[in-house]
Symmetry: C3
Subunit: 271 residues, 3 copies
């Protein structure tokens, strides 16, 4: 069976571009195991893709090959690369997308994809996913050594996610990283940091949070799971990524709070 290949793209669910990439892979490796992490990255949103990859990669088997195509600069000088980390392979354009996940797993080395022998015969200017990245992923899944694809490089473009910081009023300034399909609002506040802050402010975990969205203040109950509050009520919890999430029990928090990805949420620990 070999190493599974996992897609992460902005082509949209049901895109025939995804279908074509699968065809290309199967032509090279008829036994390839192809999965989709998601093809619903918002068009050209490298940030969103990098975020979701960072918080998902570790659930896949060792040696999984992540084929990541969010590539607004396709055809230009941006480089196609393979990042070998401690446990995985990450393939995609060198635009920051692969960095947070690979860095978190431990980057071993990076190969620049240059050897045309492993490309489709005719390479388009607009779809390297099909013509370069998919065939390279297929060859890696068959065990072709990474050195065959090109030289190693000593640096790649990084992308570092902002950490929450305190403002002049003692509020913790968090960023909305992701809105999921239920409308849950996922922030950049990780659980260990939160506990340290609770400790510092001498609060118990069951305390409510006071959050500012713009000038508006909300008191939000801090819970473990969604249905601890009544239907339609707001809540905050640490979600399955280990990040602080604002939610509405059986509702849509993104709409409730009028929050979208990239927005700021401020948390105050005292009334």
């Amino acid at each position: 069976m070999g190493r599974p290949i996992v897609f992460l793209t902005d082509f949209g669910e049901g895109s025939i571009f995804v279908g074509e990439m699968k065809g290309v892979i199967l032509k090279i490796n008829p036994n390839a195991k192809i999965l989709e992490l998601t093809n619903s990255i918002r068009p050209q949103n490298v940030f969103q893709a990098a975020f979701l990859l960072k918080y998902s990669y570790k659930y896949f088997p060792k040696n999984t090959i992540f084929l990541c195509i969010v590539d607004p600069e396709v055809g230009s000088e941006r480089k196609p690369i393979v990042v070998k980390s401690s446990n995985y392979y990450f393939i995609g354009p060198d635009n920051g997308l692969l960095y947070p996940a690979a860095f978190s797993d431990g980057i071993k080395f990076v190969v620049l994809i240059e050897n045309k022998k492993y490309f489709l015969e005719k390479v388009s200017y607009t779809f390297h996913g099909r013509d370069i990245f998919a065939p390279v992923a297929a060859y890696i899944s068959k065990g072709v050594p990474l050195k065959n694809f090109g030289p190693t490089v000593s640096s790649i473009r990084d992308l570092v996610f902002e950490e929450p910081t305190f403002d002049e009023n003692g509020c913790l300034v968090c960023r909305v990283m992701y809105i999921d399909s239920f409308g849950n609002v996922v922030t950049n506040l990780e659980e260990p940091k939160f506990y340290s802050l609770l400790f510092k402010y001498n609060l118990t975990k069951t305390s409510n949070l006071y959050i500012f969205v713009g000038q508006k203040l909300y008191e939000v109950k801090m819970v473990k799971y969604y249905c601890e509050v009544g239907e339609g009520s707001p809540l905050a919890l640490f979600n399955s990524f280990g990040l602080l999430e604002l939610s509405i029990n059986k509702g849509n928090a993104s709409e409730y709070f009028s929050l979208k990805e990239g927005d700021v949420v401020k948390i105050r620990f005292f009334k």
Copy 2:
């Protein structure tokens, strides 16, 4: 290859939660065959999931494992279960979702999922699909006996679909169970019951139906397939679930009749 695992969730197509569950399964069983029945159940709509599962399960091979995650009460006291029916395995929360399908296939026994040995090491409060249900499905696909997961239980939460009934005016009161992606309106009237009623009223199958949507009366042609009527014309037929469906040839019946899931449609057999 073993037993296929079929997903039925409300995570949305392209949800990375679906992707993570696949990763978890492959880590445990690299040869797992994973399929998707649908991930497009409307958020938290246990009823819709139960309906679609009931009318679809039998098309899958014997011993298929249905992994069903529509779980608004995740984290609370609701129980994770495996239902073994005559031919299948149904895994999910004990909230009624699994009941209609398993009952229809014949429930053999039910196991409460308790043995943490088969969970992910760290179980979140919000995503048991990934942390409990997916690993259990993977172990079942590898042949781990059900008794290993926990004790059997003697009852589960049921969910029984309403049957059509007659009102005081002699109209058959049907419920809209499902609107499909073409806008077809699927009711709860099964074909054998309909034939019995035709017989009772001494009607032939080619008769038109008189249907009330609210106060409005429509005369609808009863046909076998969609293009028996002109484009844009309404029709009724027994669909591939064996249920009465209202449709518009090359059109959208849900919009035409202003009907949505849960609404009532009344059928009169005489002018």
Copy 3:
């Protein structure tokens, strides 16, 4: 493993009809390799399906079985067929859908699907995808010879895509064939024809294009890849299908030009 089966339908992503078809196939061939080209064809749009199939099929392995269900006349007299081309199998209704791809690959022979032995026991009037086409695809993937399914036929319904032509003012009249998920506008102008026209008019490839959408004239830069122009600027290029495409760098060309599938775009080669 055998021959892969590739779905092309208008059922919508996440449709349970797609799920049921997979179940039916696996019951017959537990080792079937099922892929999706797309299930997002616009409802009943045979033209769009035929177009995407024509420009995608060749990326799949030899002997791939394309299971194509866009079937507004299901249940009527339209015929279920298998087209054997030089390298592939195309299964679907005889409504033109299969023609452009099969013709381009070279049609060898066509079999009418008649032998009920290969159907599901109970065939509905509305879902031949599940009850006839999916089982036939599964049997072909197992190696059942085509002659077993029915007699050969000497003609099928064709569907020929319009070629660009010149109007009385010397403008090249192109048709919008497809809008992709990024909003890129794909026309019916193939690259070789374009070059011949450039040669005829003695123009260089870097020339700008003058395009009319309705009465409105745009000057559009002709480039190789999207980010050769500034963000939000219009461009034209030959895309991964080898067709002229109008695009906006990091934007949506369909919205920018108010163009939809089927519309006309006129190209003038001189200012």
